[in-house]
């Protein structure tokens, strides 16, 4: 089964997203900030990452740039998931290596649609 790492400093968002992603037949891992996410990726790269922007310790954008420099870091399909939903932020996320972008708030249909866009479902 594919794995999805959900990276968000909100426990509520992680729980909601995890339920949706499990329904899409993924094993789910969670991280509360970019540094924890990087530690987990270095242990084993997930197939997909659902990534928040504003987080303590290491934000989503810095994590993504660091991830793509890591060995094997190009493997995970990264879906940014953020309340920052203007074109500037979206383009910055895409140019930093995100494969898709979800504007919060989201529902199960949106998450599934975005995962389908990148071929995860």
């Amino acid at each position: 089964m594919k794995t999805c790492l959900i990276v968000d400093d909100s426990r509520v968002v992680r729980k909601v997203a995890a339920r949706i992603v499990r329904d899409l037949k993924f094993d789910v891992l969670e991280a509360g900030d970019g540094a924890d996410a990087m530690r987990q990726c270095r242990q084993k790269m997930p197939d997909a990452i659902l990534l928040d922007w504003n987080m303590p310790v290491m934000n989503g954008l810095d994590f993504l740039r660091a991830l793509r420099r890591e060995e094997g870091g190009k493997h995970p399909l990264v879906v940014f998931c953020s309340i920052e939903n203007d074109a500037e932020h979206i383009n910055e996320a895409l140019s930093s290596g995100a494969d898709e972008f979800i504007m919060k708030p989201f529902d199960a249909d949106i998450l599934e649609s975005k995962f389908a866009e990148v071929g995860l479902v």
Binding site: D86, A87, L94, M103, F106, D109, S113, K114, E117
Partner: protein, 280 residues
């Protein structure tokens, strides 16, 4: 909902738009008429029905009938079929055309996402065989509000995230201060919109190379489905195609159409499928 109230509204839906709403789905009536009820100050569906019966206002009755039609749509619904229309069907039609102009009709196009999806494909993935072709897309819907929404081309947060990749969103839409996303002028210029009830004659709309009538018939009563498909197919140019939704069929409704040989979900004039297969 009281039975007589349900019966009145179900009858209105049937006569006004061909929709068949079973009693088990009476909740759909309340959901679909909620906005009208709120606007007019009706506390219950019974109040709305009382108004319909006492006022004898055909414009209001038509508005209620059109509100009862499902508005369910999204960008790139069944994208493979849309892609095949652009990559296979339209180029074949262009070869057969002596005007260099192609016409597509999205029948029952709701708030425009289907038409704009086609426009996006023509902008982003135009096959070489269609270069120089003039392709007109007309989208019609029974609902005045849906038609106007489509024409204005402003979509909300949830609508632009279903079926539309982020790359296409930022390429073809602009985020407004209201938070809505507006389609580009380039997209809007490719599509025109008109209000049209599929139960009525369509000869005023012209003739078309491809007619998309997807996920429209399935909500209708059988007699309405026959009426609609026969009316719509009259607007098909010789050699043209009608595309239905996945799982939809007109077998048993009309003998004027037969399945296209090389396009699942496509229907062509009866007796022409072999010619279409030879041209493939």
């Amino acid at each position: 909902m009281q039975e007589e109230v349900f019966n009145e509204l179900a009858e209105l839906a049937l006569k006004g738009s061909g929709q068949a709403i079973p009693k088990s789905k009476s909740y759909l009536i309340e959901a679909r008429l909620a906005a009208i009820a709120r606007r007019e100050g009706f506390g219950t569906m019974a109040d709305l029905v009382h108004c319909l019966k006492s006022r004898a206002n055909p414009v209001f009755a038509a508005e209620v009938a059109s509100a009862l039609v499902s508005k369910d749509t999204c960008f790139f619904r069944d994208r493979d079929a849309l892609k095949r229309v652009v990559d296979d069907v339209l180029p074949k039609r262009l070869k057969a055309s002596n005007t260099g102009r192609l016409k597509v009709w999205c029948a029952g196009g709701s708030t425009g996402q289907e038409a704009y999806s086609l426009a996006i494909l023509l902008e982003d993935e135009l096959p070489a065989s269609l270069r120089g072709a003039k392709i007109d897309i007309l989208s019609t819907d029974i609902c005045k509000v849906s038609t106007e929404t489509a024409r204005v081309a402003r979509y909300g947060h949830y609508e632009v995230q279903k079926g539309l990749s982020i790359h296409r969103l930022v390429k073809h839409f602009t985020r407004l201060e209201t938070g809505q996303w507006e389609a580009s002028e380039a997209l809007r210029s490719r599509v025109s919109f008109r209000q049209h009830n599929l139960l009525e004659r369509a000869d005023g709309l012209g003739n078309f190379d491809v007619i998309l009538c997807r996920n429209v018939l399935s909500g209708m009563a059988r007699a309405s489905r026959t009426k609609v498909i026969e009316s719509v197919s009259k607007q098909m140019m010789p050699g043209g195609m009608i595309l239905l939704g996945g799982g939809e069929s007109v077998i048993g409704l009309t003998d004027k159409l037969e399945p296209a040989r090389h396009f699942r979900g496509g229907w062509v004039a009866a007796g022409t499928a072999n010619a279409e297969a030879s041209a493939a």
